[in-house]
Subunit: 251 residues, 2 copies
Amino acid sequence: MSATVAVQNSDLDFDHGTFDSAAFASKALAGWQSLAAVIDHSLLKPDATRLQVETLCSEAARYHFACVVVNPIWTAAAVRLLEGTGVPVAATIGFPLGASLVSAQRQEAAALIRLGARELGMVLPLGQLKSGNYHAVDHAIRSVAAVAHERRAALKVNLETCLLTMEEKLRASEIAIQAGADFINTATGFASGGATPADVALMRGVVGARCGVKAAGRIRNVEQVRALLEAGANRIGSSASVAILRELGAE
Amino acid sequence: MSATVAVQNSDLDFDHGTFDSAAFASKALAGWQSLAAVIDHSLLKPDATRLQVETLCSEAARYHFACVVVNPIWTAAAVRLLEGTGVPVAATIGFPLGASLVSAQRQEAAALIRLGARELGMVLPLGQLKSGNYHAVDHAIRSVAAVAHERRAALKVNLETCLLTMEEKLRASEIAIQAGADFINTATGFASGGATPADVALMRGVVGARCGVKAAGRIRNVEQVRALLEAGANRIGSSASVAILRELGAE
């Protein structure tokens, strides 16, 4: 496990290569404060405005979410807005199709980190995976991971599981972790489906405690969050984060 | 009108700054061959495979579509597959959210043209538009247009009209053309709606004969194509292109 992973997953109850989902879920769900600490507060719709980014960041500072996730054009603004709050900014690259050139993704990764992003979210090149071009999948992830890790940033790799077969999910998880992913993520929310407990359980089963598992995509309430954490997620991505915390009593 | 636009829109019946939609539609719909010449044959889903790209290109060569449109990772393959056929390759950048860094879009634009792409499709930065940052919208488009035009490639700018108000559609059309768009395009097909005749008519009304108007997003049959051409489109983008031509008798 790289230094970056250790930092990013420092709240995990990793124990000799296994991950205790039940214990983690129970701890995370103990209150809204502990739940906020495992939620990536996200705003990725293409028509998000500057004002909405400001609201996102003020909510993140108030509830102390794990991070905010924004599209590249809002990264600099989010970094400025969150200065001094301790809440890091994550930015997407090649999102949500995962079909950009590797050279472009490397360039954007470096630029985003220069702007202050501490985490990057990329999408596994699904078409390459489905074409059996596993080397190309590995190369894409490894290239961006190298850019991220050289600059002490973390990389989350989205598998867009709703578009994958069971075998593809298993293979994607293994390639992503071998190529340097600090987290593997279920879904972008832009394709036909979102996070499911079954996908999370499968992904956690493959990676064990070797990397983080993020559940994202159409997560709207605590009931869903509970099921996903119990299935093995140690991070939740949502744009309904504040509503979720309110279910646990946050004001 | 730039040299590039003149080439790209050479089949338009431009006449003293007005565009005769009825005449253009009638000519384009005269047969499947003339219709193929105004259709961008597109494959943009994230899980598109190498085999599907090969099929796309062999269909494009057979029916002689205006171009093929692919995601960046398939550009080099499509260029090789279409060598000698006269069918150009168009590639997307920052697609479909339009929220990538301008520097990354410039870099990817140049890389795609080096790989052989002759047209680029970008998405207008919707969030900047909705935030009133018109200078940022202009800058993003102008920057990519400069990269394209220096290399004799054309730029299509997608407005994702389903996410815009009437006023935003008007403003987006005007900014795009002033910033150097060779075509403005209705929709990506990845948001909540596709091309509508009303949007096309509005866009054509703004741009007149100053640039092309492409209708794309959920276009599936000749009836839709007819309505969009009659409303003022001079290019159609579709992934159902072959089915559309078959309605007109192509085999």
